[in-house]
Amino acid sequence: MHVEGEDGDPPDFVEAREHVLETILSFERALRTAGASVPATAGIDAARALVEVGFDDRERVRAALRAVLISQEADIVAFERLFPPFWRRFAEGLDAQGSTDNVQDAVDRFGIPSASPPEPEEGDEPQLTEDEEADGAEVAATDRTVTFSAETEATPGGEDETTAIYSPSGRSERVSMGRAMLRESGDLEAAMRSLTAALASLQGRRWGREGDERVDVRRALRGSFGTGGTVVSVPTHAKKRSAVSATLLVDVSQSVLDTIDRGFLIDFLRRAVEEWRTVRVFFFDTAVREVTDAFRTRTPLEALDALEAAEAAWGGGTQIGQAIETVKREHPDAVDRNTTAVVISDGLEVGEIELLERGMSWLSAQSAAVLWCNPLAASPEYEPTCRGMAAAMPYVNGLFAFTGPDDVAEMARQLTQRGTAGPIGYEHDGRGRA
């Protein structure tokens, strides 16, 4: 940045001005490093803005810099997190009238960890240094090697389904269950019909809520052949009702099996495979296996027999991120832009959260929509605060309760009324949740 009139200014003033410019540029870079979208000319605008509002009032400087450096709401959190260290350095430098650090060093002083979610507590304390972060990661890694206690999601009221102790590396066992638990439910049949209709009529990414009124030139041209080249009617692009294409990622870890009605789960999956056109079902705990073929049966009992015959296993720990990564690597064709991805899991991830975030990001980008069915979400006290669920939520179109046919019917109702882009999920449950 060019500084005018440098020769004629007193040395202290020049030094202070250099400090202001350098700190602003550092702040700008720090914001970019944190993932904020800072306009290219923001540095110049920020300097102009500070000249207008002055340097001495913290709140005024904050408001001015926020106006010029931030251009979308999502970046405000990063700004508010990074402003306190900026201000301290800015004010200290002006008091001392001098600063010799280079820009990169200044960026480092902001202690940007990464473009990760903000720390829960905001304050004037600087962020973790890289070393501290590394320590934290190490502690987390150590945690993962010992027995993992399921995170309590529904803290108030203490729902009992989240208090069990699960091992992240627990061994899977052969699929087995009491035959008496398996039954065909008429309620589920009706609910599945509604869900199938809702998923089949979802708007794709190309279609707005109001449809697409553009003229379909090809159809108009084809139609004109029959009338000697005269276009009699002008057809527009219309959305075709399509069959359901879905990929079901089913968490069969012990924590899920303990909370879900296994008979309902098997019947749901069997009906999905039966009714939907293109379906792939993957079981995962610490490993992933495709079990679609086992569900191509007429009754839940046959499905269970098929699962046993295929030596499918369940009951290990939950590694959702790893599972998605495996699907991505080994079955890249399982998800495309017409596919609705349905994840059935309690979200109590014991694997690496970064891997889960990466996997969910891929799933969200590849698929038409991501629906998350969580048996824990049926509790009125439920909040998706456990680390796995919290990391996955930004990539999920809707998080629904999943304990029985009523939940499936509710999911279908919301999808029919509002589509995947609307306000859907357990928090909008229309059955009188508090």
Binding site: S37, P39, A40, T41, A42, I44, D45, R48, A49, E52, V53, E59, R60, R62, A63, A64, R66, A67, V68, I70, S71, Q72, E73, I76, P423, E427, H428, G430, G432, A434
Partner: protein, 308 residues
């Protein structure tokens, strides 16, 4: 292309701006005052985002009223074109002039393509305004318009001038004060955002909302105004399909003021239930307010009333 086409030429300081907002009964926090002040001094358009009903459009109107200047409003919608926003030729008038033989199309001295036959639309009107003070150009809900319109807007906002092929370039003698609002139904282009100062109006705190209700609905008793905001704040904790904004709170406060005879009584269950339509605009949201929630709303209202 310059990013800073010039200041608005207004001599406004912070104290003056605060007085302006106070006079217009607009409750503005420090962030809003500083950002608007910067916008006026740097001559940059102000891009205002926030929840529906948070007072974005009101900000433009308040500025125009407070500065005693013209408000030129452009409401955006899908399919908005240059003809609707910049200018159109008055074809009927042109045709009549040509038929009457006064003017011709090619005749340079008496062409039908001059200002007499030009219909100015909002953007051009804001540029050609010749009052003592620059007008306030309010471009409302820009996210509803197409990206093509955004490109057009970029051109206008960069240099505050428009080229009319038949007439030449029309440049603003004094750049308008530009307020652009967006509800974020789609992302705006980086180019547009770069040219603007960004102001995100946060949902109001309880104290701010109470102050707004008192300013805007003076006929409502102060304690009842506090009760109203207390109930609304509690209601916002619910996962509603459509959260009530400040505009809905004001509607509700006005409804209660209009219906009650004795101004100081506490809110009653019947009163709240009968006027809930002013706050909630979705059937499912209204259904969510059962007896238990209603009683919680009244408790919150009573607590706020006691504190207020």
């Amino acid at each position: 292309m310059s990013d800073s086409p010039g200041t608005t030429g207004l001599e406004v300081d912070e104290a003056g701006l605060r007085t302006l907002f106070d006079e217009q009964d607009y409750v503005a926090e420090d962030d809003i005052v500083t950002t608007v002040l910067l916008s006026l001094r740097l001559g940059k358009p102000l891009l205002v985002e926030g929840e529906p009903g948070s007072g974005k459009t009101e900000l433009g109107k308040v500025l125009a009223d407070g500065l005693d200047t013209e408000l030129v409003r452009l409401q955006c919608y899908e399919g908005l074109s240059a003809e609707n926003t910049l200018y159109e030729w008055n074809y009927t008038k042109q045709l009549l002039a040509v038929q009457a033989g006064d003017r011709g199309v090619a005749d340079e001295d008496a062409s039908v393509f001059d200002e007499d036959y030009l219909l100015e639309r909002p953007l051009l009107r804001a540029l050609t305004h010749d009052g003592p003070r620059p007008p306030v150009l309010l471009i409302d809900e820009v996210d509803r318009a197409d990206e093509e319109f955004e490109a057009l807007l970029l051109e206008v906002l960069s240099d505050f001038q428009v080229s009319i092929p038949e007439l030449g370039t029309v440049a603003a003698s004094q750049p308008p004060i530009v307020v652009i609002t967006s509800n974020r139904t789609r992302g705006l282009s980086d180019a547009l955002k770069r040219r603007c100062l960004f102001l995100h109006i946060e949902p109001p705190s309880m104290a701010k909302e109470r102050a707004i209700v008192r300013e805007k609905v003076p006929e409502l008793d102060g304690a009842v105004a506090a009760a109203v905001t207390g109930a609304v704040q509690r209601l916002r904790e619910e996962p509603l399909l459509k959260q009530p904004g400040v505009a809905e709170t004001l509607d509700w406060a006005r409804a209660i003021a209009a219906l009650r005879h004795d101004g100081e009584d506490a809110l009653t269950e019947t009163e709240v239930r009968n006027t809930l339509g002013c706050l909630l605009k979705e059937v499912e949201d209204v259904q969510r307010v059962d007896d238990a929630l209603l009683s919680e709303l009244l408790d919150s209202a009573e607590r706020a009333r006691a504190q207020g």
